[in-house]
Amino acid sequence: MSAAAGVRGAHPLVVSAGVAVGCVAAIAGLAALPGGATLAQQVVSGLMLGGIYVAVAVAFTLTIGVLNFLNFTIPTMFMLTGMVAWGLARHGLPFTEAWHWALALPPGIVVAILASLVVERFTFRYLKTRHGDATEHAIPLVSSLGFLLIFEHLVLIVLGSDAQSFPVRFRLDWQVGPLVVGLPQLASLLLSLAIVFWLSWLLARTRTGRALRSIAESPDTATLLGVEVTRIVPVVFLLSGLLCGVAGALFVVNYSDVSPFMGDHVGTKAIAAMVLGGLGSIWGAIAGGLLVGLLETLGIHFFGGDAAQVVVWTVLLLAIVLRPQGLFGGSRIGKGKL
């Protein structure tokens, strides 16, 4: 199943609705068991955390699926949203304490999108340069590592290296039997899923989406058939900036803290999610993101934090070696090129 086939039609939507109903039923069943409430609570938190990984993993998978480019600046976009919003709320916005986050987060998302477009201008435009040996494909990868350093350290210079508390006074918890579900968390899970569904609709049904899919198949053929590749490629970066920005904003709303390094952890987990789901597959990134969120919270619950890391990465290493196409991915993507 390729990137294009993975997002076509309503079939996966029906499947995911079925899976969602199944999950709710399973959690309810687990919570009803004696002593199962704690575990069910972990599952709920894992899925909520997974919602944030889903958005970032989709940003990764979109860039790889369409452009065959592992964009290391994606975690930075996530971080920029949070840090810029915090900086605005702290230094620039004259507004009441209770609601400043709502004003500060949208500019943060805009900065993330702009940064992503800057990255496009200086990295991907040069991929088309041909230099005649195997390392040519490393060019955008290396440039994106350069941008990772630039953005992260500019933020360190301007806003300092400390983790900051960014309180969002918006706490509404929903008590369902023995379980506590944070409404912002539930809303963010739904919002990130909604954005992903919108994106898959965009890819499957619109003119831009068709152009993107044609570039994913073959940039040269797409150019021959009249797709303006240089006009369409920035759309990928705009979308990935938007996804990371929204994920960053949701992270702030849910966990109320920001730091210049907040993207690193989420970024590596999102890469793991993308690989588990299969490179280039949006539905795979959704499944992978939720799965990694679950693995992480359950791993911490049962084994503790550092052991959970070993579990996640060993699973990932095995997955890459034994089933590189992941759960849903096409085996074609990401092979010949970097």
């Binding site: 592992l70 440039s143 010949g336």
Partner: protein, 281 residues
């Protein structure tokens, strides 16, 4: 010489050895984003052999290098099943597993790190770095080096011409892993302390950048790349984070204007005055 500069020289020597470890696999066409994992195995191997068995650095450093080379061979077989982005991700995951295991094993010091009592002085580091540099130059001139270069330029053609691709690539991982382990062992003995946090994904990224910015075409690349990015920021006296911003800008500019790295075959040929030959190649 002041303590400040001897510290920088020590880091430079370790960076050069480490960069050659990544270079050897890159010269055969494989990008290794798990360098920190190999270096950590070398560092912890030397530390454990020294502390538990009481071996001197004359024994622990070669033993740790050998151990890491064996790990390189072991990891090469699964990793070589993958290509492109998957290989970058597989080596990255390998390094994450290594540091994760170190953090969870109390015997390895966990998050507290390990103290290494045996000390290796700066002249030894510089001597080893020089020996490694000469060794890699020699390697690129051998038949194995030629086979690696052929695989890097075009794997299909190289295989058709009879290059045993798998064997050459496994040898690349063994030598590369061994050199990264050697850098780790020397790091442990010189700085007398190892902790898992040092061997972060960022370290893997930096060393891969040293190699790619220096250039993978000739053995000058890692030497120039590691020296440039270790010494120039010191000379410029740029403090803290600005150093990394400048580093990042240089990387982006380099990829735009000179994507094959600082030192290329053409440049060397020009420097040697063989312009005609360079134009022909």
């Amino acid at each position: 010489m002041s303590g400040y500069w001897s510290g920088i020289l020590a880091i430079l020597a370790i960076n050069i050895i480490f960069a050659y470890g990544i270079f050897v696999t890159a010269t055969a066409g494989q990008l290794n984003l798990g360098g920190a994992g190999f270096m950590a195995i070398g560092a912890y191997g030397a530390a454990m052999l020294g502390e538990q068995l009481g071996w001197t650095p004359a024994l622990t450093v070669p033993a740790a290098t050998l151990l890491t080379a064996l790990v390189g061979i072991g990891i090469a077989f699964p990793v070589l099943r993958t290509r492109g982005v998957y290989m970058v991700l597989a080596t990255f995951a390998f390094a994450q597993v290594v540091t994760g295991i170190i953090l969870t094993q109390p015997a390895l010091g966990g998050a507290m790190g390990l103290v290494v009592t045996e000390y290796v002085d700066l002249p030894v580091l510089l001597g080893v770095a020089a020996a490694v540099t000469i060794g890699v130059f020699w390697l690129t001139a051998t038949r194995l080096g030629l086979a690696m270069r052929a695989l890097h330029d075009d794997e299909l053609v190289a295989v058709l011409m009879g290059v045993p691709a798998r064997a050459v690539q496994v040898a690349g991982f063994a030598i590369g892993g061994g050199l990264a382990g050697l850098a780790g062992a020397l790091y442990a003995h010189h700085f007398s302390f190892v902790e898992a946090q040092y061997f972060s994904p960022l370290l893997s990224i930096y060393v891969l950048l040293f190699v790619l910015i220096g250039g993978t075409q000739t053995a000058w690349g890692p030497l120039v790349g590691a020296s440039f990015f270790t010494i120039v920021p010191e000379l410029l006296r740029i403090g803290g984070s600005w150093r990394y911003v400048v580093f990042g800008v240089m990387i982006v500019a380099m990829m735009m204007f000179r994507p094959e790295g600082m030192v290329t075959r053409t440049l060397l040929a020009r420097l040697m005055g063989r312009r005609r030959h360079a134009d022909a190649g």
